[in-house]
């Protein structure tokens, strides 16, 4: 193992002292090439006293060297490009346009619609406490509804990555004095495997309106205004009862399937509707915990899942694209 530490130290020095991409490539071949140092060490694993531990050490070293070379390649590339003989700047091209991410575009559209309805924006931390992520939303410890959300903990059970933007609602209710109306887009995390159709990071758009006489009619009218603003006057929405611990009465809302227009297809699983989000009148316990008297104030809260919405709108098939390097923009097209 001492030998590996020495190799690690020597490799770092070699990578550090390379100043051009040619020099770095030479180091790369020397260390990681088919006949390189690491390859030789790997073929010698079986002769080590503890092959398993040695193999793990070696793998770590290989990953570290790869990462250092990758990082270094960025700075030598800059150096290379600064050299006049390699400057391959184009003579003429159409102006390079900048672009917003599809999630930002969608959030801004929603922000604008809510701004017209008098809403502010709001924000909160991504590392949350159990108190704000669950307890203040009427989800005490051991409540069955916690099973709806598998958490990623920073320090169990107290600190976790927020599983829902409702945690911002819990903070807003505590920090501001009613009346208020606010919307809050945000990133949330759940402990799920990343696949083509599922991600552990996703985006929600949430909001609340708290005033003296807020009703379900206000909530439903607001969502309908929103859907019409986004999809035009012909949009068909459905409002139905749905349980969420932080609201009572609770509500789910769906839009008629864009693909089959209600007839039923594989996208809507034959239902003719696509689930868009949830809402309801804020539970009196949630208001009370925030120091707001539910006998005086009433409010509605809502949450929309943004990712599938954005995917449908931008024709993105793989959810991983939203947070990864294969989302790109044509340089000369808006």
């Amino acid at each position: 193992m001492d030998n590996l530490s020495k190799i690690q130290s020597e490799s770092k020095t070699k990578i550090k002292t390379a100043t051009t991409s040619a020099e770095l490539e030479k180091v790369h071949i020397e260390l990681l090439g088919r006949h390189g140092l690491l390859h030789k060490l790997f073929s010698d694993i079986k002769n080590q006293p503890d092959p398993k531990a040695y193999g793990q050490q070696l793998n770590r070293l290989k990953n570290e060297i790869e990462e250092l070379i990758n990082k270094k390649s960025l700075s030598v590339e800059t150096h290379d490009r600064a050299s006049p003989q390699k400057n391959n700047k184009t003579v003429f091209s159409l102006p390079k346009l900048g672009h917003l991410h599809p999630i930002t575009i969608t959030e801004r559209q929603l922000n604008e619609l809510f701004r017209k309805l008098g809403f502010s924006l709001y924000d909160g931390p991504e590392i949350e406490t159990d108190e704000y992520c669950f307890q203040r939303l009427n989800v005490p410890i051991d409540h069955p509804s916690r099973e709806m959300q598998d958490s990623i903990y920073i320090h169990e059970p107290e600190h976790l990555l927020r599983t829902q933007t409702s945690s911002i609602e819990a903070r807003l209710l505590t920090q501001e004095k009613p009346p208020f109306k606010a919307a809050f887009p945000g990133r949330t995390y759940r402990n799920e495997k990343v696949t083509k159709s599922n991600h552990f990071i996703f985006h929600q758009y949430q909001g609340v309106a708290v005033d003296k006489n807020i009703t379900l009619k206000d909530a439903i009218g607001t969502f309908n205004t929103l859907f019409k603003g986004l999809y035009g006057n012909d949009v068909h929405a459905r409002y139905r009862c749905k349980y969420y611990p932080e609201v009572e009465p609770g509500m789910g809302f769906d839009l008629e399937c864009f693909s089959c227009h209600g007839a039923g297809c594989s996208i809507c699983k034959g239902a003719g509707w696509i689930e868009m989000g949830g809402a309801g009148i804020i539970h009196p316990k949630v208001l009370t915990m925030a120091g707001i008297d539910p006998k005086i104030w009433r409010g509605f809260a809502f949450a929309l899942g943004l990712d599938r919405w954005v995917m449908a709108k931008f024709n993105i098939k793989d959810i991983r694209t939203l947070l990864g390097g294969n989302l790109a923009y044509k340089p000369n097209e808006p």
């Binding site: 990462e67 960025l74 700075s75 800059t78 490009r81 391959n88 184009t90 003429f92 091209s93 159409l94 102006p95 900048g98 672009h99 917003l100 991410h101 930002t104 575009i105 309805l117 008098g118 924006l121 709001y122 590392i127 051991d142 069955p144 099973e147 990623i152 920073i154 320090h155 600190h159 109306k181 552990f200 990071i201 309106a209 379900l216 009619k217 439903i220 309908n224 929405a237 409002y239 139905r240 009862c241 349980y243 611990p245 009572e248 509500m251 699983k269 689930e275 009148i281 009196p284 509605f300 931008f314 993105i316 990864g324 390097g325 989302l327 790109a328 923009y329 044509k330 097209e333 808006p334």
Partner: protein
């Protein structure tokens, strides 16, 4: 919870609507129907039963709701009067987690292969058939939503419900060895564990030779079952029900139904007394209810109706006592929801949004700054990216890095300490796709541990291969000398910067492309007799190439009257790109 349409009709003989309408109505009253399929000439609806409605994890609860909604009668299954004997059942309850249990002994069982109807019924609910006796316990669980269990008394003569103090292991029916933990609720015979509260064991299992059995149906402390199920990493149809608030008052009816069916199908006799241990009976509490409230919450006039009565509530003046089954009804708002869901949310007008009068702006100014920066950077030709805030490696100082404890994606344990980490990953991805000369940025949170506190800050990260331009652009966007430049990357912490009082961003509609293959870049030299207008040339060749594969086109060099075009293609293979390229520039 799956329900078979035809079987639901045994509870609701007057149900006169078709299955698709039923699916939609169930969804409207709170039981979202996520699946509708026809299997073996039966229509199966798959319902999403929310956590508050444990009573609907059986046909009984769903049928009760529908009887109220359609104003039709609920018909209970035929249950014969059971004649219990006087022989005590050898059961000891020493766990406080048993909220109610009914049990008895049966003998002379002629267990057999199950009848076809039972095999089919369970199969449609994705439950494997075992033998008649076991299948009937599963049938009853689906009917009433309360699990029940049968023990072979030739294998174990007494049963003790206890919180584990001394047992280390339990072998489930399928032979899986489960390591037990202290306080797990177990059913033992004093020597070994025969069963857990939510899964049967091999050492007391029923088979075709079983002649004597103890049958039991119980409701437990749901937290205990939930903890046991989670800590032992075992989830069963029984645990899904028992870890919720089930109704102790439903047990007598459901248990009698079980005994009736076993007597009928296994030709058995009841040889034991009815054991009914019910340590603490907690009756439902009355709820003060203002009948005007449903209208106040809905925002429209909701006519007075008999919904609460039909739900089985006891009404005394303004005090409403819900039926024992409805554990979810505890406050006035719960009752309001009951009235509104049966009235129909879909009858509430949709054209009257919340009063649009603006209230005082509570937007944190940093959000205005972020939006402004996004617009500024887009105007400078930068693309916005979003990346994983979790990264593979920590940066120095590593003890300031925050890591996750239990992420499935454990290759990425650290919350990024710098946004440059994420942008570097983005750069490598673009490089993989041969996408060069990009200028991009991200605004997002970075994380660190400082003096035991989790710190989050907003950071702007920028990438531009031209580091001079990068530096210039960064300085044009923010007035700070705290720009961290690292080769082609820059990072600026936003929290400490001056922020605008207000900023209304532009609504920009741009497209985005999901790359699935590498960008292919090819050059073409074309000579002309005289100097050309570069813009017109670009326009000309752009119009000749299919836009679904053209990424970009530019002029890389002009030498005398020879123009070098550099064209990038995407969404196609190299051969196709080359073919299109040769045709476009007449290079054949």
């Amino acid at each position: 919870m799956k329900i078979i349409y035809s079987h639901l009709k045994t509870w609701l003989p007057d149900l006169a609507i078709d299955a698709k309408k039923l699916r939609d109505d169930l969804t409207l009253i709170g039981h979202f129907s996520s699946g509708y399929e026809e299997i073996d000439s039966e229509i199966i609806l798959d319902l999403e039963i929310r956590q508050n409605r444990a009573d609907c994890l059986g046909y009984y609860g769903i049928a009760r709701d529908l009887a109220v909604f359609y104003k039709i009668n609920l018909v209970l299954p035929q249950i014969n009067t059971i004649n219990y004997s006087n022989t005590p059942v050898p059961i000891t309850i020493s766990s406080p987690d048993v909220h109610r249990i009914q049990a008895t002994s049966i003998s002379n069982i002629k267990n057999s292969l199950p009848p076809d109807w039972l095999i089919r019924f369970l199969k449609l609910h994705d439950i494997n058939s075992i033998n008649t006796l076991v299948d009937l316990t599963n049938f009853i669980m689906l009917e009433w939503g309360i699990p029940c269990h049968a023990f072979d008394t030739n294998k174990s003569t007494k049963l003790i419900w206890e919180n584990n103090q001394r047992y280390s292991e339990f072998i489930s029916l399928d032979g899986t060895k489960i390591k037990l933990q202290p306080q797990n609720l177990v059913i033992s015979d004093g020597k070994e564990v025969l069963s857990l509260s939510f899964i049967g064991g091999q050492n007391s299992g029923i088979n075709l030779d079983t002649t004597d059995s103890i049958l039991e149906m119980a409701v437990y402390n749901r937290s205990r079952v939930r903890n046991d199920s989670r800590s032992l990493k075992t989830i069963t149809e029984a645990s899904i029900r028992l870890d919720k608030e089930l109704d102790t008052e439903t047990i007598p009816l459901a248990f009698s139904h079980l005994i009736s069916l076993i007597l009928k199908h296994c030709h058995a006799i009841v040889s034991g007394k009815l054991l009914d241990v019910y340590p603490v009976k907690i009756p439902p509490l009355p709820i003060a209810f203002d009948s005007q409230k449903p209208s106040l919450y809905a925002g429209i006039d909701i006519p007075q109706n008999d919904t609460l009565k039909r739900l089985g509530c006891t009404i005394k003046n303004n005090l409403i006592t819900p039926p024992s089954l409805r554990k979810d009804l505890t406050i006035e708002e719960d009752l309001i929801e009951e009235i509104l869901r049966f009235y129909g949310y879909n009858k509430i007008p949709t054209d009257q949004p919340v009063d649009p009068t603006p209230l005082p702006d509570i937007t944190p100014p940093i959000l205005y700054l972020i939006e402004k920066l996004k617009d500024d950077l887009v105007a400078l030709g930068y693309d916005e990216v979003r990346s994983w805030p979790l990264v593979r490696h920590c940066e120095e100082p590593c003890d300031a890095a925050i890591s996750t404890q239990n992420s499935i994606n454990s290759d990425y344990p650290y919350l990024r300490q710098s946004i440059i980490q994420s942008l570097q990953n983005q750069y490598f991805q673009y490089e993989k796709y041969k996408l060069i000369n990009q200028k991009f940025y991200e605004i997002g949170k970075i994380f660190s541990l400082e003096n035991g506190q989790y710190i989050e800050k907003y950071a702007l990260g920028m990438y531009n291969s031209d580091s001079e331009e990068l530096s210039r652009d960064a300085r044009s966007c923010v007035s700070t000398d705290k720009i961290k430049l690292d080769g082609s990357f820059a990072q600026i912490i936003l929290d400490d910067l001056p922020k605008p009082d207000k900023y209304i961003p532009q609504i920009i509609n741009n497209t985005a492309i999901e790359l699935t293959s590498q960008i292919i870049t090819l050059d073409a030299n074309v000579s002309y007799d005289s100097p050309q207008d570069s813009t017109k040339l670009i326009e000309k060749y752009t119009s000749l190439i299919d836009p679904s594969i053209l990424w970009s086109i530019e002029i890389a060099d002009i030498y005398q009257n020879r123009y070098t075009f550099r064209v990038s293609y995407y969404n196609c293979d190299a051969l196709t790109a080359k073919k299109v390229h040769l045709n476009t520039f007449n290079l054949n």
